[in-house]
């Protein structure tokens, strides 16, 4: 199926990937040919076949409601590219604005 650069742009936005125009074109072509190859799946009838949403047939795996130790805050903040007073810092998140 044909993947146009516009489709690539939409998908890139959903995936939060900034692409150059050249990349958009290249990916569009590559994804098109890959999906064309994948189209052979349509040849196989699958009405009424249960999708395998889980690799194993087990259910009800739980943990008890017990508190276990958390990471020291230094470890958490130490991993962050930018931190302040125990918080992780990001560019301003725009609230709902008039």
């Amino acid at each position: 199926m044909r993947i146009t650069p516009e489709v690539v742009e939409r998908v890139a936005r959903l995936s939060r990937l900034e692409l150059t125009a050249e990349e958009q074109a290249t990916f569009a072509a590559q994804l098109s040919s890959i999906l064309e190859y994948f189209a052979r799946l349509d040849r196989l009838p699958t009405e009424g076949v249960e999708p395998t949403s889980h690799a194993l047939r087990i259910t009800n795996v739980f943990r008890p409601d017990h508190v276990t130790p958390s990471l020291p805050v230094e470890d958490v903040v130490g991993m962050a590219p930018q931190a302040q007073e125990g918080f992780v810092v990001v560019p301003r998140v725009l609230e709902a604005e008039e």
Binding site: L31, P51, T52, A55, P91
Partner: protein
């Protein structure tokens, strides 16, 4: 002590503490590593000092008369998508180039509790996406048998390290063949356990319903030792099964008399290199000679396995990799101007092209309007693939196939066309879709490059796989061949 390198652990263990110390064994491997790394480039991070410390500690315990755990002193390498506390874990990606996890993967912890000594973290295709290790964000690893050739992927570093004598054993991960295929290309043993046999906690996720951790080793016996140490239920992984772990080593000696071996016709068709076909069929004849019953079986859904796999794997991956966003850990783009560009530029700069391709493919397959046609359809075909295997296992106990359609390929040979690269995994992928255990053992050479025989078993029946593979190795000596690089 160089003579220690390249000998399987089960042969060394009785001599440990008598003919040589743990420190000497570890040192021998570190020296080989140092000498060969400029050529092979299997490692991203070497933890030599920690390894030496651990070795010394083990020698002290030996000297104190303590009986040591099953893998004491075994120099191992870990694929760099396995979290190691305090040790950089990059997943072969710039986006995690400086990431240091605050915790160990369960499999890593168990390996260390068994006494293994970690030499370092090995190279991989970025986020385990690839079949040649050329997608590593840092540099490619080379096949120790031919440095112009790829070691396979995505666990190319681990496979090459074992093949080159830079580690005695290693852990890798396998989502579509990433342990078995590089094991085949590098002439070592590689095993992917049944899905759920080994905990995934601490394995950086690529495709959650397909990923498994498994061992690389010089022979089946060593492979069984490592598998024993890492297997078993983990309450931190909801998808790890609460089943008892058999004694894999005890299971080795059963022999193959009466074992029914199936050859799926579709795995021996077009695209298979003739010398590879020959080597694999010769191997099957050896099994027959040992008393196995060989018959043909059918797996007609094979031709659908590859697209099914890629749609599912990429869909899950697109979600699993969304967390790499420059916010709380990992790389953050200096060109981030606002929240949106924090995400979009961090990921654009941090990820390589194959990862981006798969993320987009996966996002597309899950997106509104396409979910039914792509993702759901693929999950339905997956059910059909499993049924195919179930049918086969009514007739036979194991399946025998080539691991890889070719013995190897040169660096750069397949990088232009993504689809070409995907086809490298055509025989391994279906096994992941069905969640079955699979092993690759060396069975010959083609054009100077190793060829691997793949055996596939019933769910949680690693024991039969190991038994058949072990019998094969008792009757052959492919697994004793060492690459010229190591010998030289």
């Amino acid at each position: 002590m160089r003579e220690l390198v390249g000998r399987p652990y089960h042969e060394l263990r009785p001599r440990l503490g008598k003919d040589f110390s743990v420190a000497e064994l570890v040192e021998a491997y570190l020296q080989t590593l140092e000498a060969l790394e400029p050529h092979v480039r299997a490692y991203l991070t070497v933890t030599a000092e920690e390894a030496r410390q651990q070795a010394r500690a083990l020698d002290q315990r030996l000297a104190a008369g303590e009986s040591l755990p099953p893998l004491a002193g075994m120099p191992v390498a870990l694929k760099d998508n396995l979290c190691t506390r305090g040790v950089r874990t990059t997943c072969g990606s710039k986006i995690l180039e400086s990431f240091v996890p605050p915790y160990d993967a369960t499999a890593v912890r168990r390996l260390q509790e068994a006494g293994a000594v970690v030499l370092g973290k090995t190279n991989l295709d970025e986020f385990a996406m690839g079949s040649s290790t050329e997608n590593s964000g840092f540099f490619p690893t080379r096949n120790p048998w031919d440095l112009d050739c790829v070691p396979g992927g995505s666990s190319g570093g681990s496979a090459a390290a074992v093949a080159a004598g830079e580690a005695l054993a290693a852990l890798g991960s396998d989502t579509g063949g990433s342990i078995r295929q590089p094991a085949s290309l590098c002439g070592v043993v590689g095993l992917k356990p049944t899905y759920g046999r080994v905990s995934r906690y601490g394995l950086v996720a690529f495709a959650s319903s397909l990923d498994q951790i498994g061992p690389f080793a010089l022979d089946v016996h060593d492979c069984a030792l490592v598998l024993q140490a890492i297997s078993g239920h983990d309450p931190q992984d909801s998808t790890s099964v609460d089943l008892p772990v058999p004694d894999f080593v005890a299971a080795l000696e059963g022999g193959v008399r009466g074992v029914r071996v199936g050859l799926p016709t579709e795995f021996f068709g077009e695209g298979l290199q003739p010398e590879v076909r020959q080597a694999v069929l010769d191997a099957v004849r050896v099994l027959e000679g040992l008393g196995a019953q060989v018959e043909e079986v059918r797996l007609p859904t094979l031709e659908y396995a590859l697209p099914t796999y890629y749609l599912i794997a990429c869909a899950e991956a697109s979600s699993n990799l969304a967390r790499y966003d420059g916010v709380a850990y990992g790389y953050r783009s200096p060109r981030a101007r606002d929240l949106y560009t924090l995400y979009s530029r961090t990921r654009a700069e941090g990820f390589g092209p194959e990862v981006k391709r798969r993320i987009m493919l996966g996002t597309f397959a899950l997106s509104a309007g396409y979910y039914e046609g792509f993702y759901k359809k693929a999950q339905q075909v997956r059910t059909l693939v499993r049924r195919d295997f179930d049918r086969c296992f009514h007739e036979v106990d194991v399946l025998a196939t080539p691991t890889s359609p070719v013995a190897g390929f040169r660096l750069g040979e397949r990088t232009a066309d993504p689809l070409q690269m995907y086809l490298a995994d055509v025989y391994t992928i279906p096994v992941n879709l069905a969640g079955l255990p699979g092993i690759s053992v060396p069975c010959g050479f083609a054009g100077g490059l190793p060829v691997g025989l793949q055996l596939v078993g019933r769910p949680f029946d690693e024991a039969t796989l190991l038994r058949v593979a072990y019998a094969y190795q008792q009757a052959t000596d492919w697994h004793r061949r060492r690459c010229p690089l190591q010998m030289g």
